[in-house]
């Protein structure tokens, strides 16, 4: 075992993990928002997330075919793609809630879960149908924006591309906005009231349906932004590629304490770090006997351990517990 090598790559692995973690955190925010209000796992969130990526790529491809992609400064292009992606995913999330979840609000909790699984199946192949008619392909590639691929060399062994910094900044920004929105505004108070007790909130003159729609809009928009950033960061998307990140983000949300916004952030980063360390180090440490493929086992085992000692997640106590 080469100790020097292990030490050398350590900072890079931490960095890899943090970037991945912020990606999970952004997606996890969507799960956590909806869960906080309705106590329901929005299983279709992974598709809402990937639709954001598709809307974003359509915009970029459109700009590219107009020749405007290199003419417009990249921060503007990225901002535009983010906004369009957020709008697309947000509206879709609201529609899905209206069509598939609202009629089931009084049903037992598992019923909307199955409905959400149905939505997830439907959306996956719907995107595929649409894209294969539109582009005759459903593996779509984000156009490269060269400025985003520039790598900043921090030291001899560590470097980070600009796009990853964008992911981190965007995630931090969105977390901040969301936190202020939920904790410091009137709308946020209404959201928290609905989360606490729907009946009482409606007696206080809050339009519960509107607040729930709004929650889906915000959660969906977060997912959409994550989708665009996912596309920019990794390049290739297809209708099914939302599924695994969605699952991981859901895990991250639970790890941090589902329903809790800073918890989703923390959970995402912990999960990202775990995965990065497992993928980079397992093979080196065990001499190849166990390799990167065990990263999910490693991540889930730690998750189980954490939940044994903190059954409501890392920051779970902060949320109201409904016994």
């Amino acid at each position: 075992m080469d100790l020097q090598l292990l030490v050398d790559i350590f900072p890079q692995v931490v960095l890899d993990g943090i970037i991945l973690g912020f990606m999970y955190a952004l997606i996890a925010l969507g799960y956590t928002m909806v869960y906080g209000v309705l106590e329901f796992i929005n299983f279709a969130h992974s598709e809402i997330f990937i639709i954001g990526a598709f809307v974003g790529v359509e915009l970029l491809l459109g700009l590219q075919s107009l020749g405007a992609l290199d003419a417009v400064p990249w921060p503007l292009v990225l901002l535009l793609a983010l906004l369009v992606g957020m709008a697309g995913s947000g509206l879709l999330a609201v529609t899905v809630e209206r069509v598939a979840y609202r009629p089931l609000r009084s049903a037992p909790r598992l019923i909307p879960l199955i409905s959400a699984i149905g939505v997830s199946f439907f959306l996956q192949d719907m995107i595929r149908l649409f894209e294969s008619l539109w582009h005759n392909a459903f593996n779509l590639v984000y156009p490269t924006i060269d400025a985003l691929n520039v790598r900043l060399e921090l030291t001899r062994t560590i470097d980070v591309p600009v796009k990853s910094l964008v992911v981190i900044l965007a995630a931090l920004g969105m977390l901040g906005v969301l936190w202020v929105l939920v904790n410091r505004t009137k709308v946020g108070t209404a959201i928290r009231a609905v989360a606490e007790d729907q009946a009482a909130a409606s007696l206080m003159g809050i339009n519960v349906n509107r607040i729930i729609s709004l929650t889906f809009l915000i959660g969906g928009a977060m997912g959409g932004a994550a989708g665009v950033l996912f596309g920019v960061q990794y390049g290739l998307i297809n209708p099914y590629s939302g599924f695994i990140p969605g699952l991981k983000a859901f895990t991250a949300a639970v790890l941090g304490g589902i329903g809790n916004i800073p918890g989703a952030m923390l959970g995402g980063i912990v999960l990202g770090l775990l995965e990065a360390f497992a993928a980079s180090y397992l093979s080196l440490l065990t001499g190849g006997a166990f390799g990167a493929e065990y990263k999910d086992i490693f991540a889930f085992s730690v998750l189980i351990l954490i939940l044994i000692f903190r059954p409501r997640g890392l920051l779970g106590e902060v949320v109201r517990g409904r016994a």
Binding site: D16, L20, R151, N238, P245, A279
Partner: protein, 398 residues
């Protein structure tokens, strides 16, 4: 008074009965129809490759059905979606063998589905010609009805390492694979053979990851191998190589025939220009017919063929040839006759001369090492032929 659920069931049954009986009589229908079935995933994550198989078969039927139509038969394609799931594949297989008009199956994509499904085909000696199942077990069982047009993992892995050793003069290699039967299989054979030839293997990693390869690439970069071999399919390999090159890894890239798709450069762009891949699908300079195929494919379906589309095309052409040979007598050919006839067919296909041995492997597989020439997906056909190898599959080990 009839209870509500009872009424509901009754109503449902009445509707069904109304629709069922006329439909049932219709299903009997015309006598002289011969069918060829495809089984591949048409929905879900692996649909792109599965669809390629179906489209390749469709194209072949349209091109080669003339002879049978002259003899008075109608030739139809019946596509099945196996969803890449063994249980669905087996149920489809049972459905296929129940339709007496189906004389050959082109499929599957996944060896994990092909192996249990071919046990079903074997019950009635229905021929299966696989375009994509490279797992040695598929033919090593020695069934009379199972054949494959594609190569074997053990052969292709060795082709790769031979090239890495003698042409690239690689001293060190890092191997990554996708944890599927195919990717891991070919990567393991590459590793075994490369070690024999004295190439030092710096790492051997499997991953199911599809998007984020950073954590895997970090140790790769630190170890600085001369060559990276990726056992897998282009949709995973392309982001992998792209991220590797973005990370500043200077190694040469090599991969198996799963890379043989214009989407590889569409996704990875400049990063993969100059990389090598091994394939049995010949370049147009060696097989002029291949050019015609990819042009017709593009004209008809508006996109470049996926990996295995060419193999599916050849497989279907062979099946049709065999059926035609049996149907000369004018009678409806039997499945067993077709399966026997397939082993006798000699076909000059777009992936080379094809002739099956007693196990259903190709007697001599011709392998090409190709180099990606251009970052423009439209110019995938310009890829350079670097090396050509002919290898016969190993005999069955008992």
């Amino acid at each position: 008074m009839i209870r509500k659920p009872v009424r509901l069931t009754l109503a449902l049954l009445a509707v069904l009965a109304l629709v069922a009986l006329p439909a049932a009589t219709k299903a009997q229908g015309s006598k002289g129809t011969l069918k060829i079935a495809t089984q591949s995933p048409l929905s879900g994550g692996q649909a792109a490759l599965g669809e390629g198989i179906k489209l390749g078969a469709q194209l072949a039927i349209e091109k080669f059905k003339g002879g049978l139509e002259k003899a008075g038969f109608k030739v139809d394609l019946v596509p099945f979606d196996d969803q890449a799931k063994p249980d669905v594949g087996v149920a489809n297989a049972k459905n296929i063998i129940a339709d007496k008009n189906i004389l050959a199956v082109i499929g599957h994509l996944n060896s994990g589905v092909a192996i249990p499904s071919s046990e079903v085909y074997k019950e009635v000696n229905l021929a299966m010609i696989s375009p994509a199942n490279t797992n040695p077990t598929v033919t090593d069982r020695g069934y009379m009805n199972v054949n494959r047009v594609c190569g074997r993992d053990d052969v292709q892995g060795a082709v790769g390492s031979e090239f890495a050793h003698s042409t690239l003069k690689a001293k060190t290699a890092y191997i990554v694979h996708d944890k599927t039967t195919y990717g891991q299989g070919v990567a393991e054979f590459f590793k075994a053979d490369a070690e024999k030839k004295g190439i030092k293997i710096l790492g051997f990693e499997g991953t199911e990851e599809k998007s984020n390869f950073d954590p895997i690439l970090t140790p790769v970069k630190a170890k600085g191998p001369g060559l990276i071999y990726f056992g897998g399919i282009y949709d995973q390999a392309a982001p992998f190589f792209k991220q590797a090159s973005e990370k500043g890894i200077k190694a040469r890239f090599l991969g198996p025939d799963g890379m043989d798709s214009s989407d590889l450069v569409k996704i990875a762009g400049k990063a993969v220009v100059g990389m090598y891949y091994t394939t049995a699908a010949g370049p147009v300079t060696v097989f002029p017919k291949a050019k015609e195929f990819s042009e017709t494919f593009k004209k008809k379906f508006g996109k470049n063929p996926e990996p295995y589309a060419a193999e599916a095309y050849d497989a279907t052409a062979i099946a049709l040839k065999a059926i035609e040979a049996v149907a000369k007598s004018g009678k409806m050919p039997s499945r067993e006759d077709v399966a026997v006839a397939i082993r006798k067919v000699k076909h000059g296909g777009i992936t080379g001369e094809i002739e099956f041995d007693s196990k259903g492997d190709r007697k001599k597989a011709l392998y090409f090492v190709m180099q990606v020439a251009n970052a423009d997906p439209q110019k995938w056909g310009d890829n350079k032929l670097v090396k050509q190898l002919t290898i016969a599959p190993p005999a069955v080990k008992k």
